[in-house]
C-alpha cells in the first residue's frame, strides 16, 4: 500500500530583499495510511507552508510531494482529502447548516440529511440554524470538522485543531480525531498542543527551519527518561549557570525547577544548588515527554533557545515590577 503522504527533498524558497529564504529545506516525510501523524515545530518552522504545498495551493521550488500516491495539487485527490485551517473563518451571514450545504455543493453533494447528520455528530444539532457569527470558537471549530467530513475523506489535514479552545471543546475535538482513526482515515495534524499530540498521535515529525529534526513512532522517540529537581531559595544567577543544551531551567521567586535527561547525575546539580544557598524540595525521575523531545530537537537552534530564555527573563521582570 502506498504512503498517504510522502515528500522527497522538498524545498520551498521565497525571494526576499536580503536574498532567497528556504522556508522548507530538503523535507522528507512519510505518513502511513490509517495513522494519526503529528507535524510539530516552532512558529516559522515551515509547517503551514508544507501543508499548503501538500494541498496544492502553493508550489514547491524543488523536490517531490505526493498525497495518496499522486502528485500534490492533483485535483483528483481533492475528492479524497479534507483540510481544516488554523483559526478558520466562515461566511458569517450563513448558518452552520448553510455552511455545510455550501461546502457540500463544492463536492457536488446535495444531501441535506448528510449535512445535518454531520452537524449532529459534532454536537451542533441544536445550533445548526443559527448564524455562524453567533458561534463560539469551539463551535466554529466543530463546524470546520463537520465540513471536513463531507466527502468521507481518506486523509484529513488539521492545522491547530485544538488551538485556543476551552478544555471541554479540547477533549471533544480530540475524541473526534481518535474516531477518525478508528474509521480508517489518515489524520495529519499540525499542532503546538504537545500533550494532545502525545495522547493521540501514532507517529510524529518535528521540523525546525524547514528541516525534519526528528521523525518516528512516539514510543521509539520517547525512549529514556528525565529527572526533575525542584529547589527553593535559589539565586537568579544559578539558573544561568545550570542552563545548557540539555538542561532546562526555570526560576520564579527563588523556586527553581531543573529538568535534565536521566543520564545526568542529579547529585552534582543538588550540590551546586546547596552551595548557592538553595534548599532541595524534591528530585523526581519521570518518563520522557513529547515536550522534552521537542525542546531537545529544536534546542540547538539559537532562536528557539533565545525564545525560552526570553520568556523566563520577561516573567522575572514582570514580577519585579
Amino acid at each position: 500500500m502506498s504512503l498517504a503522504i510522502e515528500t522527497r527533498d522538498l524545498v520551498k524558497t521565497y525571494k526576499s530583499r536580503s536574498g532567497p529564504i528556504n522556508v522548507v529545506s530538503n523535507l522528507n516525510l512519510q505518513v502511513e495510511p490509517g495513522e494519526i501523524f503529528g507535524f510539530l515545530g516552532p512558529n516559522g518552522a515551515g509547517k503551514t507552508t508544507t501543508i499548503k504545498i501538500l494541498l496544492g495551493v502553493i508550489y514547491q521550488t524543488t523536490g517531490d510531494a505526493y498525497v495518496l500516491g499522486k502528485e500534490a495539487g492533483d485535483i483528483a485527490i481533492h475528492k479524497q482529502i479534507s483540510y481544516l485551517p488554523e483559526k478558520p473563518y466562515y461566511y458569517e451571514h450563513m448558518t452552520g447548516l448553510e455552511i455545510m450545504q455550501f461546502y457540500a455543493s463544492l463536492f457536488g453533494i446535495h444531501d441535506l440529511k448528510k449535512c445535518k447528520d454531520l452537524l449532529e455528530r459534532v454536537n451542533l444539532g441544536n445550533d445548526m440554524n443559527r448564524p455562524i457569527s453567533q458561534y463560539s470558537k469551539g463551535m466554529q471549530q466543530r463546524v470546520g470538522l463537520a465540513q471536513s467530513l463531507l466527502n468521507d475523506p481518506k486523509l484529513l489535514f488539521l492545522d491547530e485543531p485544538t488551538g485556543g479552545l476551552d478544555p471541554i471543546a479540547h477533549i471533544e475535538i480530540r475524541d473526534l480525531i481518535l474516531q477518525f482513526r478508528d474509521e480508517g482515515k489518515t489524520v495529519f495534524i499540525s499542532s503546538h498542543e504537545l500533550s494532545d499530540v502525545e495522547r493521540i498521535c501514532d507517529r510524529v515529525a518535528i521540523i525546525n527551519k524547514g528541516e525534519v529534526v526528528a521523525q518516528g513512532r512516539l514510543e521509539e522517540l520517547l525512549i529514556g527518561g528525565r529527572i526533575e529537581l525542584t529547589a527553593n531559595g535559589c539565586p537568579d544567577d544559578l539558573a544561568t549557570r545550570l542552563r545548557d543544551e540539555d538542561t532546562l531551567v526555570s526560576i520564579n521567586h527563588g523556586r527553581m525547577i531543573v529538568d535534565v535527561p536521566d543520564t545526568h547525575n542529579p547529585d552534582q546539580i543538588a550540590k551546586m544548588v546547596q552551595a548557592a544557598g538553595g534548599e532541595i524540595v524534591s528530585i523526581i525521575p519521570r518518563r520522557k515527554r513529547l515536550e522534552d523531545l521537542f525542546l531537545e530537537a529544536v534546542t540547538g537552534d539559537n532562536i528557539a533557545k533565545g525564545r525560552r530564555l526570553d520568556r523566563i527573563v520577561e516573567k522575572q521582570g514582570e514580577e519585579k515590577n
Binding site: 461566511y91 461546502y103 470546520g144
Partner: protein, 263 residues
C-alpha cells in the same frame, strides 16, 4: 457549473450584506430621492437636468460599488483563509475566480436594479415620465450602465489577482476614467499624423487596450428626446458583444495570473 454557482451565490450573499457597499448604495438612493427637489435650480430645462442628474447618480454610485466590491474579492478570501478550505476541495482556480466574478456582478445587478426602480418610482410619482415608451427609454440607460459596470468589475477582478486592494482601487478607477473621459482624447492623439510616432503609438496602445467605457453612456436619447439611436437593436447587440469580448479576455488573463499565484 454547480461549483461556480455555489461560489457565486455565496459571494452575492456576502456582498449584499457588506456595510460599506450598503452605505454607498444608501447615499446613491438618497440622492436619487432628493434629486427632484433640485429642479428649482434650472427651471427652463428642469426635465433634462433632472434626468441627467439621476442617471449620473446611478452611474457614479454603480462605478464606486463595482470597484469597492471587486477589489476585495480575492484578497479577502486569502486573508480570511477561506480560499484554502475552498481550493482544497475539488475546485479549480478558474472556477473560483469565475464564481467570485459572477457573484459580484449579481450583487451589482441587484443594487443597480434597486436604484433604477427608485429612480423610476420617483419619476412616476413626480409625473416626470409618461407612457411605457418613455419609461423603457429611461430604463435602457441603467441597463447599459450595468453592462459597463460588469466590464469595470472584470477589470478590477483581473487586477485583484495580483494587486493589493488599494493599488487595485486606483488602477481600476484610472482605467475607468481613461476609458470614459479620455477615450476620445487618446483616439484623436492616435490619429494625429503630426504627432511624434512614439507618442502616437502610445496613444494607440492605450486607445486599443483600455475598454471604451464611453460607448456605454447612452443617456443622451433619454435626456434629450430629439436624439435617438439608429438601429437600436444592433447597437445594443454590438455593445453586448464588445463587453462580452473584453470581459472574457480580462477574466482569462486573470485566470492565467491566478493559476500561478501562490495564495
Amino acid at each position: 457549473m454547480g461549483v461556480i454557482l455555489a461560489i457565486a451565490k455565496t459571494t452575492l450573499g456576502e456582498a449584499v450584506r457588506r456595510r460599506v457597499l450598503l452605505v454607498i448604495l444608501l447615499v446613491g438612493v438618497l440622492f436619487l430621492a432628493i434629486a427632484p427637489a433640485l429642479e428649482a435650480l434650472s427651471p427652463r430645462q428642469e426635465l433634462t437636468v433632472l434626468r441627467a442628474l439621476t442617471l449620473g447618480i446611478i452611474q457614479l454610485t454603480s462605478a464606486v460599488i463595482a470597484v469597492v466590491l471587486t477589489v476585495y474579492l480575492i484578497p479577502n478570501e486569502i486573508e480570511r483563509r477561506t480560499i484554502y478550505t475552498i481550493l482544497s476541495k475539488p475546485v479549480r482556480r478558474w472556477q473560483f475566480l469565475i464564481g467570485k466574478y459572477l457573484g459580484a456582478v449579481g450583487a451589482l445587478g441587484l443594487m443597480m436594479l434597486l436604484m433604477t426602480t427608485i429612480m423610476l418610482l420617483v419619476f412616476l410619482i413626480m409625473r416626470k415620465v409618461e407612457g411605457t415608451a418613455e419609461i423603457a427609454s429611461l430604463a435602457k440607460v441603467p441597463f447599459a450602465f450595468f453592462i459597463q459596470m460588469s466590464l469595470l468589475a472584470a477589470v478590477s477582478v483581473f487586477f485583484s489577482t495580483f494587486a493589493s486592494p488599494i493599488v487595485n482601487f486606483f488602477l481600476s478607477g484610472g482605467v475607468y476614467l481613461v476609458g470614459t473621459v479620455f477615450d476620445s482624447f487618446f483616439d484623436v492623439l492616435s490619429k494625429n499624423s503630426q504627432l511624434n510616432p512614439a507618442v502616437k503609438g502610445m496613444a494607440s496602445i492605450v486607445h486599443v487596450i483600455v475598454p471604451n467605457f464611453q460607448s456605454f453612456n447612452v443617456q443622451n436619447p433619454a435626456i434629450n428626446q430629439l436624439q435617438f439611436i439608429q438601429s437600436e437593436g444592433m447597437f445594443y447587440l454590438g455593445l453586448g458583444v464588445y463587453a462580452f469580448t473584453y470581459i472574457s479576455i480580462l477574466l482569462i488573463a486573470g485566470i492565467v495570473v491566478f493559476e500561478y499565484r501562490e495564495v
